[in-house]
Amino acid sequence: MSNGAIEDTQVIPAAEIEEVELYHAHSFITKWVFSQDAKIIAIQYSTTAILIGLVGLVLSWLMRLQLGYPDTFSFIDPESYLQYVTMHGMIMVVYLLTALFLGGFGNYLIPLMVGARDMVFPYLNMLSFWTYLLATLILTASFFVPGGATGAGWTLYPPQAISEGTPGINGGIILMLVSLTFFIIGFTMGGLNYVVTVLQARTRGMSLMRMPLTVWGIFVATILALLAFPALLVASIMMTFDKLLGTSFFMPEMLIQGEIGPNENGSPLLFQHLFWFFGHPEVYIVALPAFGVVSDIISTHARKNIFGYRMMVWAIVGIGGLSFIVWAHHMYVSGMNPYFGFFFATTTLIIAVPTALKLYNWVFTLYKGNIHLTIPMLFCVAFILTFLNGGITGLFLGNVVVDIPLSDTMFVVAHFHMVMGIAPVLVIFAAIYHWFPLMSGRFLNEFWGQVHFWVTFLGSYLVYFPMHYLGFVGVPRRYYEIGETSFVPESAATLNEFITIMVLIVGVAQIIFIINIIMSIFNGKLAGKNPWKATTLEWQTETTPPGHGNFGKELPICYRWAYEYSPPGVKTDFVPQNLAPDKIK
């Protein structure tokens, strides 16, 4: 670690930094509605993502009510159950997590953390949000068209997704595919901004290896998304053709009610390859920003530099690269060539190495740290545990021989909810509790934060641990009702009931969280400037919350990396990235 008390250093004045022309809004509409300020766009993205996420949450309640109390709710029939399953999955993975991490946190944090005034293409950034909103509205509209939303499962596998018997094959599936197309177009506009801003608009002194890991995570995740979403786009276009024009990209020759159907020799497997070429990197599109956020928060709240910064960066880049050669581990039961299975099982195990490295480094960061058990820190520790749990069951499922009997069971549902449902959501909460004082100038209520944390954390485990057991005994996923079988014990029904109760309790905790946010915006305890005593540039702005243009008259200069906590020989236990060496006491 560098010694901050360096004397006789030559500080190059900020005046040498070339300023960029900044967009200025002149009316209420251009300032708050069609805004080109990344911070406003971030809030627009986040609000939309959270609102549609709440729809996804309610859908999960409805699913659980059916599973916990079958034959009780007359409005939940098999068709609507499948629609809940499908829409819940797609909403949560794409429209909530991807949009919130990249569109929400990406927009708010990238310019502030790299010391830029705004994104490099503000107009495109604005278009990105409005295209995302349009995509979300189209998706929501699919609930209201005749036949309702699609019930094909979030993976939208053909031929089932567009064949008779599947809910929503008239309007629902088409709106889903159109919505995804718009989402991808909108994301591409935003993604170009994130990548070019990180590469081009960093302030003076902010070399790549001085960037906070949050920026690294979002940056690499954006690159993954730019490379992975085209696969979903191509698959969506082809399936739309199959549905509307009667083509046979994916639709095989089928017997329909005893007669040969109109399609010929399409390849459903081709769709699966395209879908998972997007689908697996999608896990890391969500996970990498979460990794970065956790690294920054635990370092700040443990008052200790992140352990193995360079390895952490390499791991993010390595995981990003490897995530493109593991996709077919989702397809072991699809009938693909068995040698593929061997290859993809191997790459899946390899990707566990950089991931485990990150886990070790977080634990080593905490080791002998001056740990402040704040709400963000609690959520981060919970994340580390949860990601470990979810990751280990991922190793089980990455092995062909273990995956085949567990495929399409509740074990898989429990696994992916732990690893890419609960784990990233815990990070989102950590991030909101951590950066809310920056965005609003106020803290979230501590007591209700504690309630929110403990109910969410313990509740999630009480939901998903039993679900692993259900999977082991053979309870299948996506079934409206299990009924009587020779292998599923009666106790499974009791366990399902218990899980449902826990889901509802965890859900109520989220309502508390939303109320806490609304109340704290107006009545929260004033946070002041840099309340967590963080080193990164977003906390060093002239005003809190940061004003238009982020920084004052002059852009900050970055003198050091983002983790100068508790340096020896320095009075304070942190040195901001922009504090000139000759001003350190």
């Binding site: 293409f121 591409t188 070019v196 302030t203 191509v234």
Partner: protein
């Protein structure tokens, strides 16, 4: 400095008095829009690569019946090549500060591109007239999808082209500097050349199948 050299640095050991980073060597960086276009072209490459891989995969199926060759596609290819040459001419003239040459190159390039798109629509009409409907064979479906995707990208290019034309008009009216439109023309040219390359790959594939 290459990104690999950057990645092996140990920032915790760095001397804070050494101001490193992008702004310290601004001249080595390309304009934001240029980098933005390059990133976008990577995305476009992935879209077309995956479509072409899917095409190659489906070609191996027994019932694959390739589309017939049509002279319209050869003519369209010629038009697109000429359009690329015109755009290149416009770009060269931005360097020579010859505003008339820039205008002629842009106008010629844009009009030829519109002609290319009309030609593609004519090729579609011709194929439909011959009974090659999208739902009859996957080869037909791929033909319409690939040419459609390419056409949409060309249309997007025409939006950028129209903006460059407006800028050029403004420069002519206000007696402004040609430097204001240089980057726009350069980016349009790059985009045109890239989409020409993609078309040539796709056309070759269509011929080979």
């Amino acid at each position: 400095m290459s990104i690999l050299n950057e990645l092996i640095k140990k920032p915790w050991l760095a001397d804070p008095s050494q101001i490193e980073g992008p702004q310290a060597s601004q001249s080595s960086f390309m304009p934001n829009r240029k980098l933005g276009l390059r990133v976008f072209l990577v995305v476009v490459t992935v879209i077309f690569s995956l479509s072409i891989i899917a095409y190659g995969d489906r070609m191996l199926f027994a019932n694959w019946k390739p589309m017939p060759e049509t002279w319209v596609l050869w003519l369209n290819t010629g038009i697109l090549i000429t359009s690329g040459i015109a755009m290149q001419w416009a770009k060269i003239n931005t360097i020579r500060d010859n505003i008339v040459g820039v205008r002629d190159g842009l106008v010629f390039g844009g009009v030829l591109t519109i002609a290319f798109l009309i030609g593609q629509l004519y090729a579609w009409e011709q194929m439909v007239g011959l009974g090659y409907y999208a739902n009859l064979n996957t080869a037909n479906a791929f033909f319409y999808m690939l040419t459609g995707l390419h056409g949409i990208h060309m249309l997007g290019g025409l939006v950028a082209w129209a903006r460059s034309m407006l800028k050029l008009r403004k420069i002519s009216q206000l007696d402004g500097s040609i430097a204001d439109v240089r980057l726009s023309v350069e980016l349009c040219t790059t985009y045109w050349h890239y989409l020409l390359l993609i078309w040539l790959v796709m056309f070759t594939l269509l011929l080979l199948s």
